[in-house]
């Protein structure tokens, strides 16, 4: 029997009730219940089990990974702290050594194409398909003694007084000293527990993604990558038909993931549908040749966090309860990088350490749980959420999604379109393009300053 399955050995310390009688001690089934089998939940459960604690990892899907929409770019250095040799052992797709930022217009685009061998030594980012990665993480958890319990939807937290003491699913209850909510962006548990309010549409975005199967050799030729190297594109502009958000494309081993992320409020304002915007992007002349001849393997949509820094401003803990990963709001969109999985892992590590200390002390109070956000503030997760706190506001600038891409293309058109008229110096060409753009200098200065401060 795995070590995580010796049940009912621990007891909650009996507390004195107001009338002086000693409350009945309550058996617990596990030291810790982790709800949600994604990166955050699995990393937290694994760390705690490795430290000798009894942990159950409850996952709503038929198996970990099955509820996830395909995958993403994982800035994975943090995983080395938990799984040494992660990049070589985990089922990752490609190692991202090339990043392309593309300003996309209807009939032109200007790309910043950055390749650097240093990004592979050590590996900084990998593309992953979550069905594979999450299944691997779950298997590592099981090997460490975690009881992985798939196919169970937790309905609510069990709260006695102010203390979270377990979870309820259907007629069943499980009790633990600490419950970890790692149940994703929609965390109904956190909403029901009154920790998070229903997020306004402005804080959320809808992602629509296709996974297009292509032969490995075609991907290598088409994207100029060799071996297990890969590329990640970030698009801004016509990819979203001027809706706030962006497009993305990244290479897996034998497929390409491509799609758009659209801020919900702006999508509604513009009166567009997410699937139409997605189709428009995939048919764009800059994108269509990259996926030409491919086979659609997967298509779906998912809610995602647009304003992580605002979301994480609410509480991350209650007595006996901590929130990690997307459930807590740990996602960052800087316009250049979209990060979630690394922040999920970072928050999970900090939470596991704090919970480990709480278990050692037998103290599951608010104060004990608050060791988690305190520790988190000292890590890259806390620091980056603070650094990029202004990024969401900067990304609200509507000129980002149309005017600047057109201006850039006009500047380059002025340089490369040798139409037999006398040439101007670069500055003159740029000035002319700017005057023709309809942009106001004060807006550009303000946006530039905002960019410097936000990014």
């Amino acid at each position: 029997m795995p070590p995580g399955l010796a049940l009912g050995r621990h007891r909650v310390v009996g507390g004195a009730a107001r009338d002086g009688r000693v409350e009945m001690s309550q058996e617990v089934d596990f030291d810790v219940i982790v709800v949600g089998g994604g990166v955050a939940g699995a990393v937290c459960a694994y760390r705690l089990a490795e430290a000798g604690h009894e942990v159950v990892l409850i996952e709503r899907g038929a198996e970990p990974g099955s509820k996830n929409l395909s995958g993403g770019v994982f800035y994975c250095r943090v995983m080395e702290q938990v799984f040494p040799g992660f990049v070589d052992e985990a089922p990752v797709e490609r190692r991202v050594t090339r990043n392309v930022l593309s300003f996309l217009n209807a009939s032109s685009h200007v790309n910043i194409d950055y390749w650097d061998a240093r990004l592979a030594e050590p590996v900084n980012a990998v593309t992953v398909l979550r069905a594979r990665l999450d299944a691997w993480l779950a298997s590592r958890c099981e090997a460490a003694g975690v009881m992985v319990m798939p196919g169970v939807r937790v309905d609510e937290l069990i709260v006695e007084g102010e203390q979270c003491v377990g979870v309820r699913a259907g007629d069943d209850e499980l009790r633990a000293h600490v419950v970890v909510e790692a149940d994703g962006v929609n965390s109904f548990l956190a909403q029901n527990a009154g920790i998070r309010a229903k997020e306004p549409p402005k804080h959320l975005a809808v992602g629509v993604k296709s996974v297009i199967g292509l032969p490995r050799t075609v991907i290598e030729d088409r994207f100029h990558v060799i071996g297990s190297d890969g590329v990640a594109y970030a698009f801004v502009g016509d990819c979203t038909q001027a809706v706030a958000g962006g497009g993305f494309l990244y290479t897996n081993l034998e497929s390409v993931s491509v799609g758009v992320v659209l801020r919900l409020d702006d999508l509604a304002t513009k009166g567009l549908t997410a699937s139409d915007v997605h189709d428009h992007f995939l048919a764009h002349p800059a994108v269509a040749p990259l996926i030409d001849g491919g086979e659609l393997l997967e298509y779906g949509c998912h809610l995602t966090i647009e304003d992580g820094p605002t979301m994480v401003a609410h509480d991350l803990t209650r007595p006996g309860l901590v929130l990690i990963g997307d459930a807590a709001g740990f996602t960052l969109n800087t316009g250049l990088t979209i990060r979630g999985m690394d922040l999920a892992a970072g928050s999970a590590i900090a939470a596991a350490d704090a919970i480990g200390a709480a278990l050692a002390a037998g103290d599951y109070s608010q104060q004990a749980m608050d060791a988690y956000p305190a520790a988190l503030a000292a890590t890259f997760v806390g620091a980056d959420m603070k650094t990029y706190a202004r990024a969401p506001a900067f990304l609200e600038v509507p000129r980002m999604y149309r005017d600047y891409g057109l201006l850039l293309a006009d500047v380059f058109h002025g340089i490369y379109d040798l139409d037999l008229t006398p040439r101007r110096h670069l500055l003159g060409t740029a000035t002319r393009a700017f005057k023709g753009s309809g942009l106001k200098l004060r807006h550009v200065v303000r946006d530039g300053w905002a960019a410097v401060r936000a990014l």
């Binding site: 029997m1 399955l5 049940l7 319990m149 069943d172 393997l297």
Partner: protein, 243 residues
């Protein structure tokens, strides 16, 4: 009666995608409990209850071996490294060898899968037992099995003496998801695993020499008022030389 319920022994056809060239892409799909497995389990439990006997589980491959343990079965066996064979006889050879290893078995019950219809009869063939397939339900009467099979026009009850292999076809999705306590209890129940090499050499799997999608047959729909549509149909049949 000692009853073996065979479960989670095939991949779910819903996880397969047919490519444009007609090849089937399983995309790493694991063995899963089929839609007939819950009905087969209900039959196995009934037979054990009727006779004061026991039910043990048997599964093969990479599926969830605890599926049956979380549904009230006290013990299970798993042949862990069995690949998903295209050849039903190869799958059956492994299951039959495992049944023999379990020993003293009276009845084997398994889902009568539409996708792999040959497995249940082939298990009986390997064991040299009687097979009853397409069953709706079964009970035990005086040491014999009374198996019920329904067709569109009649209900047939067959009485047969063990040892038997029963193929049960579900009329509806009757699975009840186990709760957390049942899942916890399942992990404490004994699960014995065997590598396939200890039991049997299943031989070579069958190989596909090529696949293609079926030819598209053109269909014409005559839509409108019945008299005109009928006239158009007759005219078309005459034009095609059918009439």
């Amino acid at each position: 009666m000692k009853v073996v319920i065979v479960y989670t022994w095939a991949r779910d056809g819903a996880n397969a995608a047919v490519r444009a060239d007609g090849t089937v892409d399983w995309r790493g799909a694991k063995m899963t409990a089929g839609e007939d497995d819950p009905a087969a389990l209900a039959v196995a439990k009934r037979l054990a209850e009727d006779t004061g006997g026991t039910v043990v589980g048997l599964t093969i491959g990479d599926g969830d071996a605890s599926w049956v343990l979380a549904r009230g079965v006290g013990e299970a066996f798993s042949v862990t490294d069995v690949p998903p064979y295209a050849d039903n006889a190869a799958t059956a050879r492994v299951i039959a060898a495992a049944v023999e290893r379990i020993g003293a078995v009276d009845v084997v019950v398994m889902g009568d899968s539409k996708q792999d219809p040959g497995v249940a009869p082939a298990v009986a063939g390997h064991l040299g037992w009687t097979a009853l397939a397409g069953l709706d339900s079964a009970s035990a009467v005086d040491g014999r099995v009374a198996a019920v099979r329904r067709s569109a026009t009649e209900q047939q009850t067959i009485s047969a003496a063990p040892p038997l292999v029963l193929g049960v076809a579900a009329e509806a999705d009757v699975d009840t998801k186990p709760g957390m306590k049942e899942l916890l209890a399942a992990r404490k129940r004994p699960l014995t695993t065997w590598p396939m090499g200890d039991l049997v050499d299943p031989g070579d799997d069958v190989r596909s020499t090529g696949t293609r999608k079926p030819d598209v047959v053109a269909a014409t729909l005559f839509d409108g008022d019945p008299a005109t549509s009928a006239a158009q149909l007759v005219a078309a049949l005459r034009a095609d030389g059918v009439l």
